[in-house]
């Protein structure tokens, strides 16, 4: 009797772990032994597979059989289905309500096949705690290639690729690298910004948890390109699995000679250490992050000032990029800048990663080509709004972003279109809202977040966001005044122009964009004491 040889992937992302994925891993091991299959089957502890809503997830490769919402009680059936001449466990498969039948392989589910998983190619596929798995998936090939190139050639490739950074402005990564390369001085630093603090965003966490080696590889290549010998991975303290797995990855990379002295026999030496942030949202701002690593209070430095690429950590030239930016680097080096630049829209190349959450049928971690329309993301990948309800808005960019109305569903999503619509790419949170969401309440929620996370040094942000929150809070309680909308607009524009850093400059966006697109809801609260969505208790 021929035995099936399979790999059983058990998602160990934070979402699936909170759903009990660790127990599933344990019961799977015992059950395989009990059913006498442990020899033929390989269990793989994988990172986030992406479809967080259906977790805990178990995937059987090579067929890609996709089991959702698995509990330890389902394990005997799953293992039994691995015996020869058996069929998959139908009740655990993804059931597509549009065609009314279960789908066996995740590759046939729209949520997956409509995506373009480049940066996430290894997430949920490899064991993030095993460097051999990363190597088998092509890990550190780009590093080998890069070490044979000249630093200027690498920077030229990054420039030609069109890759842009994930700070609010979408600054071209290649130009940043060039500035750091040209900055005089022997001591330079690389920093990876993993201080993702937006409510509803989890892409940096998932990449660090699922594929830490590609981030490390990007950092090492960056170090070689600009001439840095030391790197810091700044990760939030609230991301224990990310810190743990990145720590393991660093140790394994050191052992294999990808980190440390004379990397892969070259003259280049580089090492990375993890720095855990203490949980301040503002420390995601580059200058505040640098101060935080120096052991100081994380408070952004005002303009005009030298760029971090000239005067950064310990006053040395420093290259600071986001987790996903570094994860893109091996792709560009391996496949070439042309390959990368052929993807995406005119001015935004490559892919965008979003944490798709809120009132959407399929929530999870997704990656799409830049320029994909909002409608495709929300309806084709996200499966639309649950229970046949109406789509009302989508919020992108977290507390710095804005809410976009149904009229913009056909908008291609990239850096510039989002900015023009009053939102931003930012960290990549994407929260879908339906007819039962009150836009004033949403604005209030985000302002509550920013007014608490303001570092307190500049007046417009410290008092202005608090004042905007107080006004919004009053409006949701039915105590709005007729002049409040004008006051909010006036304060919002003043805070945008006068604040010291990007936190304050973007903090009014949720309010300004909801007034721009949903002014009637504000008016209903203020003039009629009525909350159209039926959310605000003071206005029913």
């Amino acid at each position: 009797m021929p035995e099936k040889k399979c790999t059983i992937l058990v998602c160990q992302g934070t979402g699936c772990i909170s759903g009990g994925a660790e127990q599933i891993l344990n019961s799977l091991e015992t059950e395989l032994v009990r059913q006498n299959l442990s020899g033929a089957m390989q269990i793989k502890h994988a990172g986030c597979h992406g479809f967080c809503q259906r977790g805990p997830l178990v995937v059987i490769e090579p067929e890609g059989i996709f089991y959702t919402k698995v509990t330890p009680n389902d394990i005997p059936d799953i293992v039994h289905s691995l015996q020869p001449d058996t069929v998959p466990v139908e009740r655990l498969l993804y059931y597509d309500t549009t065609i009314n039948r279960p789908i066996k392989s995740f590759r046939d589910i729209p949520f997956y096949y409509k995506q373009q998983r480049l940066v996430l190619r290894n997430c949920g596929v490899i064991n993030p705690e095993n460097i051999d798995d990363a190597l088998a998936a092509g890990g550190y090939q780009a590093l080998r290639k890069a070490l044979a190139m000249k630093p200027t050639e690498i920077i030229e490739e990054i420039k030609k690729s069109g890759l842009r950074g994930l700070g609010g402005a979408g600054f071209p990564t290649g130009r940043k690298w060039e500035a750091a390369f040209q900055a005089p001085g022997k001591d330079k630093y690389i920093i990876c910004n993993g201080d993702e603090g937006d409510p509803g965003a989890f892409q940096d966490r998932s990449v660090l948890e699922g594929d830490p080696h590609s981030v490390l590889e990007g950092m090492i290549i960056a170090g070689f390109a600009i001439g840095a010998r030391h790197g810091y991975a700044y990760v939030r303290n609230e991301y224990p699995f990310a810190v743990h797995r990145l720590g393991i990855a660093i140790k394994q990379a050191r052992k294999r000679g990808f980190l440390g002295k004379n990397i892969l026999g070259s003259k280049f030496s580089f090492d990375v250490e993890i720095f855990q942030g203490a949980g301040a949202f503002v420390c995601g701002e580059s200058t505040a992050l640098v101060l935080s690593i120096e052991g100081k209070r994380g408070m952004p430095r005002p303009l005009p000032r030298p760029r971090t690429t000239e005067v950064g950590l310990w006053d040395k030239p420093t290259l600071l990029n986001n987790v996903k930016t570094y994860a893109n680097i091996p792709l560009i080096i391996n496949h070439g800048s042309q390959w990368f630049a052929s993807r995406g829209s005119e001015k935004s190349k490559g892919t965008a990663i979003f944490s798709l959450t809120g009132k959407v049928v399929n929530s999870g971690l997704i990656e799409v080509t830049m320029g994909t329309r909002l409608r495709e993301i929300i309806y084709d990948i996200g499966g639309g709004i649950p229970d046949g309800r109406a789509f009302k808005a989508v919020q992108t960019g977290g507390p710095s972003g804005g809410c976009l109305p149904p009229e913009l569903l056909n908008m291609p999503v990239d850096f510039d279109s989002l900015t023009a619509a009053g939102s931003m790419m930012g960290s990549g949170g994407m929260v879908v809202m339906d007819q039962d969401t009150c836009m004033v309440d949403i604005a209030r929620y985000f302002l509550d977040f920013t007014q608490r996370e303001s570092c307190g040094q500049c007046i417009p942000c410290r008092i202005g966001t608090k004042q905007m929150f107080d006004i919004l809070d009053n409006i949701t309680q039915g105590r709005g005044k007729p002049e409040d909308i004008d006051t909010l607009l006036e304060l919002g524009n003043s805070i945008k122009d006068a604040s010291l850093c990007a936190l304050g400059q973007s903090a009014p966006n949720p309010v300004l964009s909801t007034i721009r697109y949903f002014r009637d809801e504000y008016e209903a609260h203020i003039y009629e004491g009525h909350c159209p969505a039926g959310v605000c208790h003071g206005c029913l």
């Binding site: 005009p304 608490r452 040094q457 007046i459 410290r462 202005g464 004042q467 107080d470 122009d497």
Partner: protein, 214 residues
């Protein structure tokens, strides 16, 4: 030091190269609102009141902008006013006490800013009242700290660090809960009172002499 000429609000003025626009303006009798600037301290740019409009329309703090030969800046444009007036109104709305009994009366920089901008107190009423009054910090043996009058300009913090070299004072808390505090090091304070001397408002005040009953 070479001299450069710059244009502030249509007036040509001479400046030493390396000087900031704010220092140049003040030296030439042009007032630009400011709270966190002090001539003996490094410019911090946190009060955001000295914003001025550059030739390209960008708003930049005059206190951190070095003069560049031939630069043209404007400090009284509509754009500047729209950015800084709400900031001052917010400060006043959150400034609990009236001026009566304030130790800074007569030398208060906030009063100077208010009269310069002709702040209309009636407009402040459209704003929501601030949270409850915060208690005074009486940890120090020679002065008290009033978080309700403090504008968090950071001048005291910088004085302690740059002038006295002790660095005992620092920001604590976040958002509107931010205040200046000793971080538990108040016993190390030598009561040089340099911070108190530079406070632009009435945030720091000498302790009242203890009344002795006869």
């Amino acid at each position: 030091m070479s001299k450069v000429t710059i244009n502030i609000d249509g007036k040509e003025v001479q400046a030493e190269s390396g000087q900031t626009v704010l220092d140049t303006a003040l030296a030439n009798g042009i007032y630009i609102p400011h709270l966190c600037h002090h001539p003996e301290l490094k410019p911090r740019g946190v009060c955001r009141l000295c914003l001025m409009e550059m030739a390209d329309g960008e708003l930049i703090t005059a206190c951190r902008m070095p003069v560049i030969a031939g630069m043209v800046v404007k400090t009284k444009t509509k754009k500047v006013d729209k950015a800084i007036r709400p900031t001052v109104e917010l400060l006043i709305a959150y400034h609990h006490d009236t001026c009566r009994g304030c130790p800074a009366i007569g030398k208060c920089e906030l009063q100077t800013v208010m009269s310069h901008l002709k702040i209309d107190r009636k407009r402040v009423r459209r704003l929501r009242p601030p949270p409850a009054k915060k208690p005074l910090d009486k940890m120090n043996s020679s002065f008290d700290y009033d978080p309700n009058r403090c504008v968090l300009c950071g001048v005291c913090i910088n004085t302690c660090e740059d002038i006295h070299g002790v660095s005992l004072l620092y920001y604590v808390g976040r958002g509107h809960e931010t205040k200046v505090a000793f971080y538990g090091d108040e016993k190390k304070c030598e009561s040089c009172l340099e911070c108190l001397a530079r406070c632009p408002v009435g945030g720091l005040m000498l302790k009242k002499p203890v009344e002795v009953r006869h």
